[in-house]
Symmetry: C2
Subunit: 200 residues, 2 copies
């Protein structure tokens, strides 16, 4: 049973793949608008994790609409959620894709699909959608991440990560400059996975 895991190179999507590995055939999929070398960056991390990987190009129109949302809202939540929903839908239209997974945690606020969005995607597009971390709280996840993954952490503007946020930031930077990016995106700690830890 093959699962296509939406993969940013971050610790949550990486851990999702690791937790499913004993039970599913794993494929990592990185969605990109082609604005930044997100695909190549994620491919390198996927190689370190020893999973097959591919890049899925998203329509430019999705990024334009997300841009409209963030400029209207003044903060990124609904824009990021919108890109995530469209990424799942785009992946779900691939006839070879039967199960989609992502790194959503129990305590995540963004990007999160609501249960009605999930059911709508499953019913309309004939896929199953899994969030392997959805039943886990922060403390247990931190222990698992610390045990299985080598990561680097830092402020969100300095860490290279292949998530939706990086391309949306770049899109806004090109149109409005770095200050506008700093204004719209609250600074937070990002992480990027380097490799699997060697288990003793």
């Amino acid at each position: 049973m093959r699962v296509s895991v939406l993969f940013s190179g971050g610790k949550d999507s990486s851990l999702s793949a690791l937790l499913m590995e004993p039970f599913f055939e794993i494929e990592l999929v990185t969605c990109s608008f082609g604005m930044l070398p997100n695909g190549e960056l994620a491919a390198q991390t996927a190689k370190e994790l020893r999973f097959p990987h591919r890049v899925l190009n998203l329509e430019q129109e999705i990024l334009e609409k997300a841009y409209g949302k963030i400029m209207n809202d003044g903060f990124p939540r609904s824009a990021i959620n919108y890109i995530h929903e469209k990424a799942v839908e785009t992946l779900a239209t691939d006839p070879a894709v039967k199960i989609i997974a992502d790194g959503t945690r129990r305590d995540d606020r963004v990007p999160v699909l609501s249960i009605s969005q999930v059911r709508s995607i499953e019913d309309r597009l004939g896929v199953n959608y899994i969030c392997p971390l959805k039943g886990y709280g922060k403390k247990t996840l931190n222990v698992l991440i610390g045990r299985y993954l080598q990561i680097e952490e830092g402020p969100s503007e300095s860490i290279q990560k292949a998530d939706y946020e990086t391309e949306l930031r770049e899109f806004i930077r090109q149109r409005h400059g770095t200050e506008k990016v700093m204004e719209l995106f609250p600074a937070h700690i990002q992480s990027h996975v380097l490799s699997r830890k060697q288990l003793v």
Copy 2:
């Protein structure tokens, strides 16, 4: 890292244990009011699954209060949820227990702890609580269950299972007879795990 999995001998708690097995040290715990041989029944299933198992006796007062709820409501939902919450709390007060897991699915309606109940238990009692199946929909779970578990299914009154419902039914049967049980508990298909499937 040891996880205590609330275990009824049903497919959901069994699959929870299997999905965590590669990453945690598993202990199965069956809660019982001692009205029926639930502990022995679950111990037999646990042995077939090759996990360590123990029985945790719950206070009679919990059953009395659950009885009050079901008689008042006319249906079992809040009574079963109440027993489940008290079972998690009772297990959490064991100083050796650090992580508690159960078989709650994404689409379950009962027994389900709300996110605020979960956070309250984690904060008050210093445990972490995991629902490994929480991010999985019905179709994917059915495939996993079919692949890993040998089960028997039948109407809820004929299948031997060591969950909270069986003892609450027995408590009501002793006081009011079988007809009252049939009236309060909607008939549904139950399942009981026989063993692990031998993987080829």
